[in-house]
Symmetry: C2
Subunit: 341 residues, 2 copies
């Protein structure tokens, strides 16, 4: 018995299986890949040997042979913010079901050249298919830096143009308009908006809000911009809290809603008594806030799953499958009410 290189494991290889089953390695390979050109008898024999030897195919060797790993690598600028984390979770889940390995590469939006590095990173065959979470400028930059030939797909915000890749988004505009109409219907004269950073002037959230106001003939107040950090949202909230004309606020996401609510609280304003607020995303726990947050639930996990289907199609060279996503949906809770008489 030949002893392996010291430090090397003695796991069975495809050749061991072939020898034990009395067939060639290629036949074992065919069985592993569910090729139809194997007789039922042979298949059974090989499977038995595989089971007996506890053989597991080596993903690295397979990737080297085929030229690309069977997996996906997610490129994102963040892993903790709810939208990103939730999309990532959906991707992981779908990938696992498909037997794909999952990799993560965070691109530092504020580090010079990291977009290039990230693109290089995923160009390696070990990355497999690429999924870019492109909810922000960094993500979109990566999308553009990707070599043409890479199998890739993206999760994007609605309204972004010029992405030469299968790109999937949630239709936020409808729900955003609905949220705005909900506030208007309660009797608010208009609705203010604290926006998340957006790559598109006509992003779904902002566009829906604008549309609903216009359709109702309500004034369209200037958008108050906020960053991804809670602090900036708090500052935005302070500005609005100081304005007695503000009675309803549509927040770009739930983190912003949290900070705005805090600013309102500090200004002595009751929610929803003095000011109504609506969030966006539906973070877990928002129903346990005090008051429970009226918000727009977003199916980021479904979005993530859809991107996996998309890269899988790219990988197979198949046409993009038609995916039906759960549309965003307004959930009315306690943070919205009619304005004070």
């Amino acid at each position: 018995m030949p002893s392996p290189r010291p430090g090397r494991e003695t796991v069975p290889s495809i050749r061991d299986v072939a020898a034990a089953a009395g067939v060639s390695r290629q036949t074992v390979s065919r069985v592993l890949n569910a090729s139809p050109k194997v007789s039922a008898d042979t298949r059974r024999t090989v499977m038995e040997v595989i089971e007996r030897l506890q053989y597991r195919p080596n993903r690295v060797a397979r990737a080297l042979g085929t030229g690309r790993a069977r997996g996906v690598t997610v490129v994102t600028s963040d892993t903790m913010l709810y939208g990103y984390a939730s999309t990532l979770q959906g991707i992981e889940e779908a990938a696992r079901v498909e037997g794909l390995a999952v990799g993560v590469r965070v691109v530092e939006s504020d580090r010079e050249g990291d977009v290039r590095n990230a693109a290089d990173y995923v160009s390696d065959p070990s990355a497999g298919g690429v999924i870019v979470i492109a909810f922000d400028a960094a993500g979109i930059a990566v999308l553009h830096a990707l070599p043409e030939s890479l199998p890739a797909a993206a999760a994007i915000e609605p309204g972004v143009r010029g992405v030469a890749r299968p790109a999937i988004c949630l239709d936020e505009q409808q729900a955003s308009a609905e949220a705005t109409r909900h506030l208007l219907a309660l009797g608010h004269r208009t609705v203010h908006h604290v926006a998340i950073p957006s790559e598109s002037e006509h992003s779904g959230r902002q566009a829906g809000w604008r549309r609903a106001l216009a359709e109702a003939g309500a004034a369209v107040p200037p958008v108050v911009p906020a960053g991804w950090d809670v602090r900036s949202a708090y500052e935005a909230g302070r500005v609005l809290a100081a304005d007695p004309g503000v009675t309803a606020i549509l927040c770009g996401n739930d983190d912003i809603a949290l900070a705005v609510r805090r600013a309102l609280f500090e200004a002595g304003k009751d929610v929803p008594g003095d000011v109504s607020i609506v969030g966006f995303d539906g973070v877990p726990g928002s129903e346990y806030w005090t008051p429970a947050l009226t918000t727009v639930e977003m199916d980021f996990a479904g979005l993530g799953r859809a991107t996996v289907a998309a890269v899988l199609a790219e990988l197979a060279g198949a046409p993009q499958p038609a995916v039906s996503l759960t549309p965003p949906r307004l959930v009315v809770r306690e943070s919205t009410a009619p304005p004070r008489a």
Copy 2:
């Protein structure tokens, strides 16, 4: 010029670089791996060619050659809960700095046999080093199912015994005791505790709380258990909210604090007027709650970074480095106050 297999990219390989630089592939390999046995001249020449050809080493081929990928795979039962997500973030960051690829494998705690599957998954050389986030039973089960020979490390909760791996934890006991003493010092007769699921009776959070109560001669009320879901925490909160003897609650984490605060709110109890609450973890945004949450800040990201250092040491066969972690720290905010007279 030989045309590559159709569908294959024509990226330069190490042999192309070797030929262009007039050296052998092994010499190029040495340059890539920063081997000292290369003359300065040769190194420079090779580097120039690499730059000119835009050569990038193939991670798959390298992994096949060495027997293990240069990367880490994180095994976890969750990616969204703050502690898990934050640890994962720390791992990703440290790994990226070290030039390691990062993979993720979620193990479904409630799916039969998935612990086995996860262990199989990371046994593949493409997984590289393994980091198990073992804050729960699923993680610990994976830890035990891992083949002896795998380079692995774990992030665990304090107090867990019998883990035959480099395992790192945050010393929560100290901070937990401090939080309890803080409440006692405010004048509360005792402190109730809603606990997260724990693998150890003597987990840091619970042990610290017990110790501080004992040292102060205060009664030790029965622990109210909660799950990882907010709902169960809410139910726990309802029970405590109905009990007029409860004036201070130490919550196992901030999600629990959120739900308990909600239950208190529904019972008409003011925080901190009627009941003081303390959270654990320091989730982002907890300072913007109303009232701002007194909580114990945990450096999960640092914990994650430390596990990377640990696997790296395992991989290199080096002794475990001594890591100094930022200890958990009580942050007093608005949710704690003296009991009503």
